[in-house]
Protein backbone atom coordinates (compact mmCIF):
# COMPACT_ATOMS: atom_id res chain seq x y z
CA UNK A 1 0.00 0.00 0.00
CA UNK A 2 1.14 3.53 -0.71
CA UNK A 3 1.64 6.01 2.10
CA UNK A 4 2.36 9.57 1.00
CA UNK A 5 3.72 12.21 3.36
CA UNK A 6 2.82 15.77 2.37
CA UNK A 7 5.02 18.20 4.28
CA UNK A 8 4.89 21.98 4.14
CA UNK A 9 8.08 22.59 6.12
CA UNK A 10 10.14 25.43 4.70
CA UNK A 11 13.59 25.17 6.22
CA UNK A 12 16.23 22.54 5.60
CA UNK A 13 16.45 20.57 7.75
CA UNK A 14 12.86 21.04 8.80
CA UNK A 15 11.20 19.88 12.00
CA UNK A 16 7.95 19.56 10.03
CA UNK A 17 9.65 17.12 7.65
CA UNK A 18 11.17 15.36 10.67
CA UNK A 19 7.73 14.91 12.22
CA UNK A 20 6.39 13.59 8.91
CA UNK A 21 9.25 11.10 8.68
CA UNK A 22 8.76 9.92 12.28
CA UNK A 23 5.05 9.37 11.64
CA UNK A 24 5.69 7.51 8.37
CA UNK A 25 8.25 5.26 10.09
CA UNK A 26 5.81 4.51 12.88
CA UNK A 27 3.09 3.60 10.37
CA UNK A 28 5.56 1.44 8.40
CA UNK A 29 6.28 -0.55 11.57
CA UNK A 30 2.59 -1.39 11.84
CA UNK A 31 1.46 -1.86 8.24
CA UNK A 32 3.12 -2.81 4.99
CA UNK A 33 3.50 0.52 3.24
CA UNK A 34 5.70 2.01 0.60
CA UNK A 35 6.46 5.56 1.74
CA UNK A 36 7.03 8.55 -0.49
CA UNK A 37 7.42 12.17 0.57
CA UNK A 38 6.17 15.32 -1.16
CA UNK A 39 8.01 18.45 -0.05
CA UNK A 40 5.70 21.34 -0.89
CA UNK A 41 8.64 23.75 -0.67
CA UNK A 42 9.96 22.25 -3.92
CA UNK A 43 6.58 22.85 -5.57
CA UNK A 44 5.92 26.34 -4.19
CA UNK A 45 6.35 28.12 -7.55
CA UNK A 46 4.47 25.40 -9.46
CA UNK A 47 1.55 25.71 -7.04
CA UNK A 48 1.51 29.51 -7.44
CA UNK A 49 1.66 29.09 -11.22
CA UNK A 50 -1.32 26.75 -11.07
CA UNK A 51 -3.32 29.56 -9.47
CA UNK A 52 -2.26 31.93 -12.24
CA UNK A 53 -2.67 29.62 -15.25
CA UNK A 54 -5.42 27.29 -14.10
CA UNK A 55 -3.47 24.09 -14.73
CA UNK A 56 -0.81 22.04 -12.97
CA UNK A 57 2.52 21.67 -14.77
CA UNK A 58 4.14 18.25 -15.16
CA UNK A 59 5.99 18.35 -11.82
CA UNK A 60 2.92 19.38 -9.85
CA UNK A 61 0.75 16.90 -11.77
CA UNK A 62 3.03 14.09 -10.61
CA UNK A 63 2.62 15.16 -6.96
CA UNK A 64 -1.15 15.48 -7.32
CA UNK A 65 -1.32 12.02 -8.89
CA UNK A 66 0.76 10.54 -6.06
CA UNK A 67 -1.61 12.01 -3.47
CA UNK A 68 -4.69 10.97 -5.42
CA UNK A 69 -3.45 7.40 -5.80
CA UNK A 70 -2.17 7.06 -2.21
CA UNK A 71 -3.85 4.58 0.12
CA UNK A 72 -3.22 6.93 3.04
CA UNK A 73 -1.69 10.33 3.73
CA UNK A 74 0.34 11.92 6.48
CA UNK A 75 -0.21 15.68 6.15
CA UNK A 76 2.13 17.92 8.12
CA UNK A 77 2.31 21.70 8.25
CA UNK A 78 3.93 24.35 10.36
CA UNK A 79 1.35 26.49 12.17
CA UNK A 80 1.49 30.08 10.89
CA UNK A 81 -0.75 32.86 12.22
CA UNK A 82 -2.89 30.37 14.10
CA UNK A 83 -3.54 28.01 11.16
CA UNK A 84 -1.97 25.82 8.47
CA UNK A 85 0.58 27.58 6.30
CA UNK A 86 -0.63 29.19 3.10
CA UNK A 87 1.52 26.83 1.04
CA UNK A 88 -0.09 23.81 2.70
CA UNK A 89 -3.60 25.10 2.02
CA UNK A 90 -2.69 26.11 -1.52
CA UNK A 91 -1.61 22.57 -2.37
CA UNK A 92 -4.95 21.17 -1.22
CA UNK A 93 -6.71 24.01 -3.09
CA UNK A 94 -5.32 22.88 -6.44
CA UNK A 95 -6.19 19.21 -5.88
CA UNK A 96 -9.56 18.03 -7.11
CA UNK A 97 -12.01 18.23 -4.22
CA UNK A 98 -12.90 14.54 -4.55
CA UNK A 99 -9.31 13.26 -4.66
CA UNK A 100 -9.17 12.60 -0.91
CA UNK A 101 -12.68 11.25 -0.46
CA UNK A 102 -12.61 8.22 1.84
CA UNK A 103 -8.82 8.32 2.17
CA UNK A 104 -7.30 7.74 5.64
CA UNK A 105 -5.33 10.81 6.70
CA UNK A 106 -3.12 11.50 9.69
CA UNK A 107 -2.81 15.21 10.41
CA UNK A 108 0.16 16.72 12.20
CA UNK A 109 1.73 20.12 12.77
CA UNK A 110 4.74 21.85 14.25
CA UNK A 111 5.05 25.19 15.97
CA UNK A 112 7.19 27.27 18.26
CA UNK A 113 4.77 26.95 21.16
CA UNK A 114 2.33 24.33 22.39
CA UNK A 115 -0.30 27.08 22.63
CA UNK A 116 -1.06 26.63 18.92
CA UNK A 117 -1.70 22.90 19.09
CA UNK A 118 -5.48 23.13 18.71
CA UNK A 119 -5.00 24.63 15.25
CA UNK A 120 -4.94 20.97 14.22
CA UNK A 121 -8.49 20.54 15.48
CA UNK A 122 -9.83 23.91 14.41
CA UNK A 123 -8.12 24.30 11.02
CA UNK A 124 -6.73 21.05 9.63
CA UNK A 125 -9.48 18.70 10.72
CA UNK A 126 -12.29 20.80 9.12
CA UNK A 127 -10.22 21.16 5.93
CA UNK A 128 -9.95 17.39 5.57
CA UNK A 129 -13.56 16.94 6.65
CA UNK A 130 -14.52 19.20 3.72
CA UNK A 131 -12.41 16.99 1.45
CA UNK A 132 -14.28 13.98 2.88
CA UNK A 133 -11.09 12.30 4.04
CA UNK A 134 -11.17 9.94 7.03
CA UNK A 135 -8.99 11.67 9.60
CA UNK A 136 -7.64 9.56 12.46
CA UNK A 137 -8.69 10.67 15.97
CA UNK A 138 -5.19 11.51 17.17
CA UNK A 139 -3.64 14.59 15.58
CA UNK A 140 0.03 15.05 16.41
CA UNK A 141 1.42 18.44 17.33
CA UNK A 142 5.11 18.96 18.00
CA UNK A 143 6.14 22.17 19.74
CA UNK A 144 9.82 23.02 20.13
CA UNK A 145 9.93 21.57 23.64
CA UNK A 146 8.50 18.25 22.42
CA UNK A 147 11.75 17.54 20.63
CA UNK A 148 13.33 17.48 24.15
CA UNK A 149 11.23 16.16 27.01
CA UNK A 150 7.85 17.77 26.43
CA UNK A 151 6.08 15.31 28.67
CA UNK A 152 4.13 16.33 31.74
CA UNK A 153 1.88 14.59 34.21
CA UNK A 154 -1.18 15.07 32.00
CA UNK A 155 0.15 14.51 28.47
CA UNK A 156 1.86 11.71 26.60
CA UNK A 157 5.23 12.54 25.14
CA UNK A 158 5.67 13.05 21.40
CA UNK A 159 6.80 9.44 20.96
CA UNK A 160 3.65 8.02 22.51
CA UNK A 161 1.42 10.35 20.51
CA UNK A 162 3.19 9.41 17.28
CA UNK A 163 2.73 5.73 18.11
CA UNK A 164 -0.94 6.16 18.90
CA UNK A 165 -1.70 8.14 15.72
CA UNK A 166 0.33 5.72 13.60
CA UNK A 167 -1.57 2.76 15.06
CA UNK A 168 -4.87 4.45 14.25
CA UNK A 169 -3.80 5.05 10.65
CA UNK A 170 -2.42 1.50 10.34
CA UNK A 171 -5.72 0.09 11.63
CA UNK A 172 -7.63 1.97 8.95
CA UNK A 173 -5.17 0.87 6.28
CA UNK A 174 -5.39 -2.79 7.29
CA UNK A 175 -9.16 -2.69 7.10
CA UNK A 176 -9.16 -0.84 3.82
CA UNK A 177 -10.39 -2.88 0.86
CA UNK A 178 -7.92 -2.91 -2.02
CA UNK A 179 -8.95 -0.38 -4.62
CA UNK A 180 -9.49 -1.35 -8.22
CA UNK A 181 -8.47 0.93 -11.07
CA UNK A 182 -10.51 4.13 -11.31
CA UNK A 183 -13.59 3.59 -13.49
CA UNK A 184 -13.61 5.48 -16.78
CA UNK A 185 -15.51 8.74 -16.51
CA UNK A 186 -19.11 7.95 -17.41
CA UNK A 187 -20.80 9.89 -20.15
CA UNK A 188 -24.37 10.84 -19.41
CA UNK A 189 -26.11 9.81 -22.65
CA UNK A 190 -27.58 12.86 -24.33
CA UNK A 191 -31.14 11.49 -24.35
CA UNK A 192 -30.87 11.37 -20.57
CA UNK A 193 -29.65 14.99 -20.44
CA UNK A 194 -32.63 16.03 -22.56
CA UNK A 195 -35.05 13.92 -20.56
CA UNK A 196 -33.85 15.51 -17.33
CA UNK A 197 -35.16 18.81 -18.69
CA UNK A 198 -38.57 17.28 -19.47
CA UNK A 199 -38.85 19.18 -22.70
CA UNK A 200 -42.29 19.17 -24.22
CA UNK A 201 -41.86 18.33 -27.88
Amino acid sequence: MKLVVVTAGLTQPSSTRLLGDRLAEAVAQRAEVEVSVIELRDLAVDIANNFVTGFANARLRAAIEAVTEADALVAVTPIFSGSYSGLFKSFFDVIDNTALAGKPVLIAATGGTARHSLALEHALRPLFAYLRAVVVPTAVYAASEDWGGGRDAFTDGLGERIARAAQELADLLLRRAPRGPEPEAEVVPFEQQLAALRLVE
Binding site: A48, N49, V52, F55, V187, L197, L199
Partner: protein, 364 residues
Protein backbone atom coordinates in the same frame (compact mmCIF):
# COMPACT_ATOMS: atom_id res chain seq x y z
CA UNK B 1 -8.93 22.01 -44.10
CA UNK B 2 -9.77 25.53 -42.97
CA UNK B 3 -7.33 27.96 -41.38
CA UNK B 4 -8.25 31.14 -39.64
CA UNK B 5 -8.02 33.31 -36.58
CA UNK B 6 -10.15 33.84 -33.50
CA UNK B 7 -10.18 36.97 -31.42
CA UNK B 8 -11.11 37.44 -27.78
CA UNK B 9 -11.42 41.19 -28.36
CA UNK B 10 -9.57 42.25 -25.22
CA UNK B 11 -8.59 45.88 -24.66
CA UNK B 12 -5.16 45.48 -23.09
CA UNK B 13 -2.46 48.04 -22.41
CA UNK B 14 0.64 47.55 -24.53
CA UNK B 15 3.22 46.84 -21.80
CA UNK B 16 6.09 48.11 -23.94
CA UNK B 17 4.77 51.67 -24.20
CA UNK B 18 1.88 51.88 -21.71
CA UNK B 19 -0.60 52.72 -24.44
CA UNK B 20 -4.18 51.42 -24.12
CA UNK B 21 -6.35 51.45 -27.24
CA UNK B 22 -9.79 52.99 -26.94
CA UNK B 23 -12.79 50.74 -27.44
CA UNK B 24 -13.33 52.37 -30.79
CA UNK B 25 -9.73 51.68 -31.85
CA UNK B 26 -9.97 48.07 -30.70
CA UNK B 27 -13.26 47.44 -32.49
CA UNK B 28 -11.91 48.96 -35.70
CA UNK B 29 -8.70 46.96 -35.24
CA UNK B 30 -10.69 43.73 -35.05
CA UNK B 31 -12.34 44.62 -38.35
CA UNK B 32 -8.98 45.48 -39.94
CA UNK B 33 -7.61 42.14 -38.70
CA UNK B 34 -10.58 40.27 -40.20
CA UNK B 35 -10.13 42.01 -43.57
CA UNK B 36 -6.43 41.22 -43.45
CA UNK B 37 -7.26 37.56 -42.78
CA UNK B 38 -9.07 37.40 -46.10
CA UNK B 39 -6.35 39.37 -47.88
CA UNK B 40 -3.61 36.93 -46.82
CA UNK B 41 -5.67 33.91 -47.84
CA UNK B 42 -7.04 32.66 -44.54
CA UNK B 43 -10.46 31.01 -44.51
CA UNK B 44 -12.11 31.94 -41.21
CA UNK B 45 -12.51 34.87 -38.83
CA UNK B 46 -14.23 34.19 -35.49
CA UNK B 47 -15.02 36.72 -32.79
CA UNK B 48 -15.69 36.10 -29.13
CA UNK B 49 -18.76 37.32 -27.28
CA UNK B 50 -18.19 39.06 -23.97
CA UNK B 51 -20.26 41.34 -21.79
CA UNK B 52 -17.60 42.63 -19.43
CA UNK B 53 -14.65 44.99 -19.74
CA UNK B 54 -11.91 44.78 -20.91
CA UNK B 55 -13.57 42.98 -23.82
CA UNK B 56 -15.35 44.83 -26.66
CA UNK B 57 -17.21 42.26 -28.77
CA UNK B 58 -20.63 42.08 -27.10
CA UNK B 59 -22.51 42.08 -30.40
CA UNK B 60 -20.93 39.53 -32.75
CA UNK B 61 -23.48 39.54 -35.59
CA UNK B 62 -23.26 43.33 -35.84
CA UNK B 63 -19.51 43.10 -36.28
CA UNK B 64 -19.68 40.07 -38.57
CA UNK B 65 -22.36 41.72 -40.72
CA UNK B 66 -20.07 44.69 -41.27
CA UNK B 67 -17.15 42.40 -42.10
CA UNK B 68 -19.37 40.38 -44.42
CA UNK B 69 -20.06 43.50 -46.46
CA UNK B 70 -16.36 44.16 -46.89
CA UNK B 71 -15.17 40.63 -47.70
CA UNK B 72 -15.79 38.12 -50.47
CA UNK B 73 -14.65 34.70 -49.33
CA UNK B 74 -14.02 34.83 -45.59
CA UNK B 75 -16.08 32.42 -43.47
CA UNK B 76 -17.53 34.32 -40.49
CA UNK B 77 -17.86 32.59 -37.17
CA UNK B 78 -17.85 33.10 -33.43
CA UNK B 79 -15.72 31.86 -30.55
CA UNK B 80 -18.05 31.59 -28.82
CA UNK B 81 -21.72 32.60 -28.94
CA UNK B 82 -23.28 32.22 -25.50
CA UNK B 83 -25.93 29.52 -25.79
CA UNK B 84 -26.54 29.78 -22.05
CA UNK B 85 -27.51 33.41 -21.60
CA UNK B 86 -28.69 34.51 -25.06
CA UNK B 87 -32.26 33.80 -25.97
CA UNK B 88 -32.09 30.96 -28.51
CA UNK B 89 -34.82 32.69 -30.51
CA UNK B 90 -32.57 35.73 -30.93
CA UNK B 91 -29.59 33.55 -31.86
CA UNK B 92 -31.72 31.80 -34.48
CA UNK B 93 -32.80 35.13 -35.96
CA UNK B 94 -29.48 36.99 -35.76
CA UNK B 95 -27.47 34.26 -37.43
CA UNK B 96 -30.10 33.54 -40.09
CA UNK B 97 -30.07 37.27 -40.93
CA UNK B 98 -26.28 37.23 -41.07
CA UNK B 99 -26.40 34.15 -43.30
CA UNK B 100 -28.56 36.02 -45.85
CA UNK B 101 -26.38 39.12 -45.78
CA UNK B 102 -23.17 37.11 -46.08
CA UNK B 103 -24.53 34.75 -48.76
CA UNK B 104 -24.05 31.77 -46.48
CA UNK B 105 -20.48 32.46 -45.32
CA UNK B 106 -21.55 31.91 -41.72
CA UNK B 107 -21.24 29.30 -39.04
CA UNK B 108 -21.49 29.61 -35.29
CA UNK B 109 -19.62 28.20 -32.33
CA UNK B 110 -21.62 27.82 -29.16
CA UNK B 111 -20.14 28.09 -25.69
CA UNK B 112 -21.01 28.95 -22.13
CA UNK B 113 -19.16 32.18 -21.36
CA UNK B 114 -16.03 33.46 -19.73
CA UNK B 115 -17.23 34.80 -16.41
CA UNK B 116 -19.67 33.70 -13.70
CA UNK B 117 -21.59 36.98 -13.39
CA UNK B 118 -22.66 36.85 -17.06
CA UNK B 119 -25.38 34.41 -15.96
CA UNK B 120 -27.08 36.69 -13.41
CA UNK B 121 -26.58 39.70 -15.74
CA UNK B 122 -28.90 37.92 -18.15
CA UNK B 123 -31.23 36.52 -15.51
CA UNK B 124 -29.76 33.02 -15.43
CA UNK B 125 -28.09 30.77 -12.86
CA UNK B 126 -24.57 29.48 -13.48
CA UNK B 127 -25.38 26.20 -11.74
CA UNK B 128 -27.75 25.56 -14.65
CA UNK B 129 -24.96 26.14 -17.22
CA UNK B 130 -25.11 22.69 -18.82
CA UNK B 131 -28.93 22.31 -18.71
CA UNK B 132 -29.21 25.80 -20.27
CA UNK B 133 -26.81 24.81 -23.05
CA UNK B 134 -28.78 21.60 -23.65
CA UNK B 135 -32.25 23.10 -23.62
CA UNK B 136 -31.44 26.32 -25.47
CA UNK B 137 -29.68 24.46 -28.24
CA UNK B 138 -32.52 21.97 -28.56
CA UNK B 139 -34.78 24.97 -29.24
CA UNK B 140 -32.31 26.70 -31.58
CA UNK B 141 -31.91 23.47 -33.56
CA UNK B 142 -35.69 23.19 -33.94
CA UNK B 143 -36.22 26.87 -34.84
CA UNK B 144 -33.78 26.54 -37.76
CA UNK B 145 -35.37 23.34 -39.04
CA UNK B 146 -39.12 23.70 -38.46
CA UNK B 147 -41.08 26.62 -39.89
CA UNK B 148 -43.66 26.59 -37.13
CA UNK B 149 -42.58 25.73 -33.63
CA UNK B 150 -44.50 24.84 -30.48
CA UNK B 151 -42.18 24.79 -27.53
CA UNK B 152 -42.12 24.50 -23.81
CA UNK B 153 -39.00 24.17 -21.69
CA UNK B 154 -37.68 25.06 -18.28
CA UNK B 155 -35.79 28.23 -19.05
CA UNK B 156 -37.73 30.43 -21.43
CA UNK B 157 -41.30 31.39 -22.02
CA UNK B 158 -43.24 28.83 -24.13
CA UNK B 159 -43.81 29.35 -27.84
CA UNK B 160 -47.01 28.55 -29.69
CA UNK B 161 -47.00 28.52 -33.49
CA UNK B 162 -43.81 30.58 -33.61
CA UNK B 163 -41.80 31.13 -36.78
CA UNK B 164 -38.34 32.61 -36.42
CA UNK B 165 -37.49 34.94 -39.28
CA UNK B 166 -35.77 35.11 -41.62
CA UNK B 167 -35.71 31.39 -42.35
CA UNK B 168 -32.15 30.07 -42.82
CA UNK B 169 -30.69 30.80 -46.27
CA UNK B 170 -31.85 28.13 -48.77
CA UNK B 171 -33.43 26.32 -45.83
CA UNK B 172 -29.94 25.27 -44.67
CA UNK B 173 -29.13 26.17 -41.06
CA UNK B 174 -25.64 27.51 -40.29
CA UNK B 175 -23.21 24.75 -39.31
CA UNK B 176 -22.75 24.62 -35.56
CA UNK B 177 -19.58 24.00 -33.59
CA UNK B 178 -19.76 23.36 -29.86
CA UNK B 179 -16.81 24.77 -27.97
CA UNK B 180 -15.83 23.51 -24.56
CA UNK B 181 -12.84 23.78 -22.29
CA UNK B 182 -13.79 21.18 -19.75
CA UNK B 183 -17.26 19.65 -20.13
CA UNK B 184 -17.75 16.12 -21.46
CA UNK B 185 -21.50 16.87 -21.60
CA UNK B 186 -20.83 19.36 -24.41
CA UNK B 187 -18.72 16.85 -26.36
CA UNK B 188 -21.66 14.47 -25.95
CA UNK B 189 -24.08 17.15 -27.18
CA UNK B 190 -21.99 17.87 -30.28
CA UNK B 191 -21.76 14.13 -31.00
CA UNK B 192 -25.50 13.59 -30.56
CA UNK B 193 -26.40 16.19 -33.19
CA UNK B 194 -23.52 15.35 -35.51
CA UNK B 195 -22.28 18.93 -35.10
CA UNK B 196 -18.64 20.05 -34.91
CA UNK B 197 -16.61 20.15 -31.72
CA UNK B 198 -13.98 22.79 -31.10
CA UNK B 199 -11.32 22.60 -28.40
CA UNK B 200 -9.89 26.02 -27.70
CA UNK B 201 -6.47 24.42 -27.24
CA UNK B 202 -4.79 27.49 -25.88
CA UNK B 203 -3.52 28.25 -22.40
CA UNK B 204 -3.84 24.60 -21.22
CA UNK B 205 -1.90 21.36 -21.80
CA UNK B 206 -3.05 19.39 -24.83
CA UNK B 207 -3.81 16.22 -22.80
CA UNK B 208 -6.81 17.97 -21.38
CA UNK B 209 -8.31 18.61 -24.82
CA UNK B 210 -7.31 15.19 -26.15
CA UNK B 211 -9.66 13.50 -23.67
CA UNK B 212 -12.59 15.66 -24.78
CA UNK B 213 -11.95 15.19 -28.48
CA UNK B 214 -11.51 11.48 -28.17
CA UNK B 215 -14.81 11.28 -26.28
CA UNK B 216 -16.51 13.40 -28.98
CA UNK B 217 -15.16 11.18 -31.78
CA UNK B 218 -16.34 7.96 -30.09
CA UNK B 219 -19.78 9.33 -29.35
CA UNK B 220 -20.12 10.81 -32.88
CA UNK B 221 -19.73 7.29 -34.20
CA UNK B 222 -22.03 5.91 -31.47
CA UNK B 223 -24.82 8.17 -32.72
CA UNK B 224 -24.34 6.91 -36.26
CA UNK B 225 -23.03 10.05 -37.97
CA UNK B 226 -19.95 8.28 -39.35
CA UNK B 227 -16.70 6.85 -38.13
CA UNK B 228 -14.79 8.51 -35.28
CA UNK B 229 -12.32 9.77 -37.91
CA UNK B 230 -15.13 11.54 -39.77
CA UNK B 231 -16.20 13.63 -36.78
CA UNK B 232 -15.75 17.37 -37.35
CA UNK B 233 -13.00 18.72 -35.12
CA UNK B 234 -11.64 22.24 -34.72
CA UNK B 235 -8.63 23.34 -32.70
CA UNK B 236 -7.25 26.60 -31.45
CA UNK B 237 -3.63 27.54 -31.23
CA UNK B 238 -1.52 30.50 -30.23
CA UNK B 239 1.59 31.68 -32.03
CA UNK B 240 3.96 34.59 -32.36
CA UNK B 241 6.47 34.61 -35.19
CA UNK B 242 9.47 36.40 -36.57
CA UNK B 243 11.82 35.21 -39.29
CA UNK B 244 14.40 34.63 -36.61
CA UNK B 245 13.11 32.72 -33.58
CA UNK B 246 15.20 34.69 -31.06
CA UNK B 247 13.62 37.90 -32.34
CA UNK B 248 10.16 36.39 -31.81
CA UNK B 249 10.96 35.43 -28.23
CA UNK B 250 12.55 38.81 -27.44
CA UNK B 251 9.64 40.75 -28.90
CA UNK B 252 6.85 38.63 -27.40
CA UNK B 253 8.26 38.16 -23.89
CA UNK B 254 7.18 41.53 -22.45
CA UNK B 255 3.62 40.86 -23.66
CA UNK B 256 3.70 37.31 -22.34
CA UNK B 257 5.06 38.23 -18.92
CA UNK B 258 2.12 40.47 -18.00
CA UNK B 259 -0.60 39.00 -20.23
CA UNK B 260 -4.08 38.47 -18.84
CA UNK B 261 -4.82 34.76 -18.24
CA UNK B 262 -1.25 33.55 -17.70
CA UNK B 263 0.95 36.58 -16.98
CA UNK B 264 3.00 36.87 -13.80
CA UNK B 265 3.14 33.09 -13.72
CA UNK B 266 5.38 30.60 -15.50
CA UNK B 267 8.17 31.67 -17.82
CA UNK B 268 7.53 31.85 -21.57
CA UNK B 269 9.70 28.76 -22.01
CA UNK B 270 7.77 26.74 -19.42
CA UNK B 271 4.45 27.82 -20.90
CA UNK B 272 5.58 26.82 -24.40
CA UNK B 273 6.54 23.39 -23.06
CA UNK B 274 3.28 22.89 -21.18
CA UNK B 275 0.74 24.39 -23.61
CA UNK B 276 0.33 24.68 -27.41
CA UNK B 277 1.81 28.23 -27.46
CA UNK B 278 4.59 28.56 -30.05
CA UNK B 279 6.85 31.59 -30.18
CA UNK B 280 9.51 31.27 -32.84
CA UNK B 281 10.14 31.12 -36.56
CA UNK B 282 7.44 30.29 -39.12
CA UNK B 283 9.10 26.88 -39.52
CA UNK B 284 8.73 26.20 -35.79
CA UNK B 285 5.06 27.14 -35.99
CA UNK B 286 4.62 24.80 -38.97
CA UNK B 287 6.34 21.92 -37.17
CA UNK B 288 4.35 22.37 -33.97
CA UNK B 289 1.01 22.76 -35.74
CA UNK B 290 1.59 19.63 -37.82
CA UNK B 291 2.02 17.70 -34.56
CA UNK B 292 -1.57 18.52 -33.58
CA UNK B 293 -2.80 15.89 -36.00
CA UNK B 294 -0.77 13.24 -34.15
CA UNK B 295 -2.59 14.06 -30.92
CA UNK B 296 -6.11 14.77 -32.16
CA UNK B 297 -6.42 12.93 -35.48
CA UNK B 298 -7.00 14.59 -38.87
CA UNK B 299 -9.19 17.60 -38.28
CA UNK B 300 -11.13 20.25 -40.14
CA UNK B 301 -10.43 23.70 -38.75
CA UNK B 302 -7.42 25.38 -37.21
CA UNK B 303 -7.90 28.82 -35.65
CA UNK B 304 -5.03 30.87 -34.24
CA UNK B 305 -5.18 33.47 -31.51
CA UNK B 306 -3.06 36.34 -32.81
CA UNK B 307 -4.32 39.62 -31.38
CA UNK B 308 -4.33 39.61 -27.62
CA UNK B 309 -2.26 40.78 -24.64
CA UNK B 310 -1.86 44.32 -25.98
CA UNK B 311 0.00 43.51 -29.19
CA UNK B 312 -0.27 46.59 -31.42
CA UNK B 313 -2.35 46.35 -34.59
CA UNK B 314 0.72 46.83 -36.80
CA UNK B 315 2.38 43.81 -35.21
CA UNK B 316 -0.75 41.68 -35.53
CA UNK B 317 -0.99 42.54 -39.24
CA UNK B 318 2.67 41.55 -39.71
CA UNK B 319 1.87 38.28 -37.94
CA UNK B 320 -1.00 37.67 -40.34
CA UNK B 321 1.32 38.30 -43.30
CA UNK B 322 3.67 35.62 -41.97
CA UNK B 323 0.79 33.28 -41.25
CA UNK B 324 -0.78 33.72 -44.68
CA UNK B 325 2.41 33.79 -46.74
CA UNK B 326 4.75 31.38 -45.01
CA UNK B 327 2.83 29.12 -42.67
CA UNK B 328 -0.63 28.29 -43.96
CA UNK B 329 0.39 27.36 -47.54
CA UNK B 330 2.81 24.79 -46.12
CA UNK B 331 0.24 23.56 -43.60
CA UNK B 332 -2.35 23.13 -46.35
CA UNK B 333 0.06 21.02 -48.38
CA UNK B 334 1.31 18.95 -45.44
CA UNK B 335 -2.12 18.34 -43.88
CA UNK B 336 -3.42 17.19 -47.29
CA UNK B 337 -0.68 14.56 -47.45
CA UNK B 338 -1.72 11.16 -46.08
CA UNK B 339 -5.14 12.49 -45.20
CA UNK B 340 -7.40 9.43 -45.25
CA UNK B 341 -10.02 9.52 -48.02
CA UNK B 342 -13.02 9.40 -45.65
CA UNK B 343 -12.02 12.47 -43.61
CA UNK B 344 -14.42 15.28 -44.62
CA UNK B 345 -13.70 18.98 -45.00
CA UNK B 346 -15.33 21.44 -42.62
CA UNK B 347 -18.96 21.90 -43.72
CA UNK B 348 -19.81 25.13 -45.53
CA UNK B 349 -23.11 26.48 -46.77
CA UNK B 350 -22.31 25.18 -50.26
CA UNK B 351 -21.45 21.69 -49.04
CA UNK B 352 -24.49 21.49 -46.76
CA UNK B 353 -26.74 22.72 -49.56
CA UNK B 354 -25.29 20.15 -51.98
CA UNK B 355 -25.74 17.38 -49.39
CA UNK B 356 -29.33 18.45 -48.80
CA UNK B 357 -30.10 18.49 -52.56
CA UNK B 358 -28.48 15.07 -53.03
CA UNK B 359 -30.69 13.54 -50.39
CA UNK B 360 -33.89 15.28 -51.56
CA UNK B 361 -36.33 13.07 -53.42
CA UNK B 362 -36.23 13.42 -57.23
CA UNK B 363 -38.72 15.97 -58.47
CA UNK B 364 -39.22 17.47 -55.02
Amino acid sequence: MQFGIFSVGDVTTDPTNGRTPTENERIKAMVTIALKAEEVGLDVFATGEHHNPPFVPSSPTTMLGYIAARTERLQLSTATTLITTNDPVKIAEDFAMLQHLADGRVDVMLGRGNTGPVYPWFGQDIRQGIPLAVENYALLHKLWREDVVDWEGRFRTPLQGFTSTPRPLDGVPPFVWHGSIRSPEIAEQAAYYGDGFFANHIFWPKEHFMRLISLYRQRYAHYGHGTPEQAVVGLGGQVFMRKNSQDAVREFRPYFDVAPVYGHGPSLEEFMAETPLTVGSPQQVIDRTLEFREFFGDYQRQLFLMDHAGLPLKTVLEQLDLLGEEVVPVLRKEFAKDRPAGVPDAPTHASLLAARNDSAPVGA
